[in-house]
Symmetry: C3
Subunit: 141 residues, 3 copies
Amino acid sequence: MSSQSVVTIETHGAGLYEFTDRVMVFIRSARIESGLLTLFLRHTSCSLLIQENADPDVRRDLDAFFRRLVPQADDPAMAYLTHRAEGPDDMPAHIKAALMPVSLSIPVMDGRLALGTWQGVYLFEHRRRPHRREVVLHLGG
Amino acid sequence: MSSQSVVTIETHGAGLYEFTDRVMVFIRSARIESGLLTLFLRHTSCSLLIQENADPDVRRDLDAFFRRLVPQADDPAMAYLTHRAEGPDDMPAHIKAALMPVSLSIPVMDGRLALGTWQGVYLFEHRRRPHRREVVLHLGG
Amino acid sequence: MSSQSVVTIETHGAGLYEFTDRVMVFIRSARIESGLLTLFLRHTSCSLLIQENADPDVRRDLDAFFRRLVPQADDPAMAYLTHRAEGPDDMPAHIKAALMPVSLSIPVMDGRLALGTWQGVYLFEHRRRPHRREVVLHLGG
């Protein structure tokens, strides 16, 4: 038996958006003891990430690292980029979406997600403007 | 019920090779309404990637970014590399294969892959010489 | 039918730790002909990686690349980091854990993992001090 759902996340600027709670609601409603949850992101300019949910500095530093690794297209270091139709944050967003996952799988044990103590589930938005993002949840028995 | 298949992709130089069509043929032949497709790459010098399939500049820019992030081994910046047996594109290929996925999972909803409008499925070849690459497809019910 | 297990790996410093053998023991004990194995790491400062298991230089070079891409927090290039509570290897470990997988899926065909000839399964430890790491294995039929 399997169960599917789509979670919609409204983003308002680049950064990490936690949605662990919404995933847990789905798991509880499925009333399954043992299984595998898979998350799939239907976009190419944001990412899924499991990261520390304790200190918010971790998310700030992650964001800072990736902004330095992949600067905006109007930075001289990125003069080689050709895909610029949607602005200076467009192609860097695609690059970050290649560097971090579009799909993630988490086992369900004893009716609960097998996340570690400090793990939270995040959408990492790479675009500046507001977006409506869809994450497909698939729970297999 | 599950179904498996192996897709073979002939590459002729580094870059992105789309094979979304071949995945869709497999999904249709399986005649499953709801499930989870997993792709697995049996190699350590290429990657799987879901990326934009509209503007070819996106693929060109992705390739350009990764060539700068991980230069060939004959670049002075990479003088620290020791694994050089198969040429200057060998170890950089392994590094890129660590930075991008070897496995990907995509839900199947209403008999179709739940890909977003602009998402295509690609093999990202990191080696220069021609290679015969195998992707295992697993569809779980 | 599905089967689950937890593998514990003791690490003693940063680097790659192979545990392909332990995964294979689990697969054999499950006596399943066709299925999907998913590995999930319950931590945010180490990664899972499938990489070449032939030449140990590959692992050394991978480690060297990531140490250069994400220097320790006491390196001047990383002065922007704010999360420093657990020492200079703390935040860089979280960054590497964002760049490499926390979950991986490998099909099982004819009762065996569908790994390529040169592929091994590794835990990539990013912290210096000894850690006890847990990898959840989920095998779906």
